[in-house]
């Protein structure tokens, strides 16, 4: 399968009062046609920043893409002039945000908002754009779409609004859809519906999806491949099976064991949730060593001085950890 979106060695810096924060450091990702790529990691590890840099929406100042490349179908996005980039946003790449409650404009009808996106990118009449909006609402499973298109956002529930957002994002049939924690703000039953919807739409339209989430369960169910991020680095990438069954990085292992299991401890002495000790270090204070070293159970001398480079476990599976080399030697 061909690569639709290719992010290579992306470095993004933010100037803050506390100094320069390298929010993304040598991030490399590739998204293939028609697949779902999960990006997981805890808060502040750079997931959303990756999404915003791909969209070209990094607030500048203070943020800046320092180096690296993002290419969509072979077209370089980082050096593209603003006007051309605007023509791509919403048309060939679009994004769903975390908060469905606030990501729709409260003063316009939802049909207007979807048609607006169509009107911005396609040479169609208002009437046709409205028709397209109604079709999109139908596609995302909103009952009575022709009536609902005239609703205002405050008249819809959170789950319905997220459906509208998905319809809005897909209105121009983009090649790439970035879903930034699309279900974080929704309750559990609705989460499952939204994930189902994404999966179905992906199969129907062939749009490649980057799914950013904390939810390992969602990743297991939806994603074809997974990238794990920590403190601005991609530390492990592989197929979903490889990551879940054979995680190599201690952080990935930690993340997976943090997921509580219902069948655990019937009477057995493990009432506590697993956790990874410590927090993500401030990005302004990253030294030369591995960013995870202070929290790692397997920390070695080497980890404190040199940052591990990405190494291959197998053709699909790569990891940035000194343990990998260690094993090869053994």
């Amino acid at each position: 399968m061909s690569v639709v979106l290719d992010v290579k060695d992306l470095v993004v810096d933010f100037k803050t009062r506390a100094g320069n924060a390298r929010v993304l450091n040598q991030v490399s990702l590739d998204l293939r046609e028609g697949e779902i790529l999960g990006i997981v990691g805890e808060s502040g590890c750079g997931k959303s920043m990756t999404a915003l840099s791909i969209m070209g929406l990094i607030p500048n100042p203070p943020g800046r893409i320092t180096s690296g490349s993002i290419s969509l179908d072979g077209q370089e996005l980082t050096s593209m002039p603003a006007a051309k980039l605007r023509a791509i946003r919403g048309n060939r790449i679009s994004m769903i945000f975390q908060e469905p409650m606030t990501s729709l404009n409260p003063v316009f009808r939802i049909g207007d908002q979807i048609s607006e996106s169509v009107l911005l990118h396609q040479n169609v009449s208002k009437k046709e754009a409205w028709k397209r909006a109604v079709e999109m609402l139908e596609l995302v499973g909103i009952p009575e779409p022709a009536v609902r298109a005239r609703s205002y956002p405050h008249e819809l529930s959170g789950g319905m609004r997220q459906r509208v957002m998905i319809g809005l994002a897909l209105a121009c049939k983009p090649k790439v859809l970035i879903a930034d924690e699309p279900t974080t703000a929704l309750d559990v039953t609705v989460q499952a519906q939204i994930f189902d919807l994404l999966k179905n739409l992906q199969e129907e339209t062939g749009t490649a999806i980057i799914l950013i989430t904390h939810d390992m369960g969602a990743v297991a169910e939806l994603a074809d491949r997974v990238s794990v991020m920590y403190a601005g680095h991609v530390i492990e990438t592989g197929s979903t099976r490889q990551i879940l069954d054979d995680p190599r990085h201690p952080y990935t292992r930690g993340l997976i064991s943090c997921v509580p299991h219902l069948e655990d401890n019937p009477g057995d002495e493990r009432p506590y949730l697993e956790e990874i000790e410590g927090v993500v270090p401030p990005l302004t204070e990253l030294g030369t060593g591995c960013a995870f070293a202070p929290r790692c159970k397997h920390v070695m001398d080497r980890c404190l001085t040199t940052n591990p480079v990405i190494g291959r476990v197998s053709q699909q599976h790569s990891v940035a950890c000194h343990l990998l080399k260690e094993k090869e030697l053994a």
């Binding site: 605007r86 911005l120 994002a169």
Partner: protein
Amino acid sequence: MTVTSDQNLHISSQSPLKEVARAFRQSWAGMLGLVLLFLVCVFCLAGPFIYMVDPFEVIWAPLTPPGEVANVPLGTDYLGRDILAGLIHGGASTLFVGLVAGVLTMTIGILVGSIAGYYGGMVDEALMRLTEFFQVLPALLFAMVLVTLFTPSIYVVSIAIGIVSWPATARLTRAEFLRIRNLEYVNAARSIGARNNRIIWRVILPNALAPLIVSATLTVGIAILFEAGLSFLGLGDPNVFSWGMMIGAGREYILDGWWTISFPGLMIFLTVLGFSLIGDGLNDAFNPKLRER
């Protein structure tokens, strides 16, 4: 994949503006203001056709008290001109100045405030320093200078009032823009490829309108007071009757003829009160949470 329960269906949609209109109709302050303003407008617009007396014409003895002679119900001023005719004709120009100055104030204020608030950084710095420059000038003095530099017609007076009163609107607009520009739907608009102009006028401004509409009604009231002040000081248009001018003309006869200034004063009071009450009603309608107190 059916999601919504059936009770959710067949709801007619309600636009936010319609809801505000409904809430406004329930506010007694707003409705009272609207009635007051309506009466003032009828008085000024229909008056000339019913009470056909030229306000400039001397019709009776100077300083005739109200009620003394049947055909001059509100008495005469120091020249013997009919007060009631003056009130009727003065109202139109007072309202005209108020509206033009109000529109001008809002236009400049919203333009400056939204650009400053949206772009931030150096643009914001520059525009806000400019705003502060206008804000620290004593408004009445500055307006007087402007009016004396040019001929004192009601257009010049309106423009002068507009030029001295936009800073407050600019600051209010900027504050709203600073709040809204970081909301997710602005980012969402950017993510579908909307350009800056579109985001400013079509995405952020409609959401910032609530406090601006309230402030616009109050601005008109303040502009009317301002016009009265200028006319009182003799800087109004001498060829046009206005309430402020009537007070100014009568100020030396306060002790001999209270009616020469009381009636125009009362008209100004009622009109400004009308605008303030409407502003109050709108404020309540836009902020349903405040209404519960």
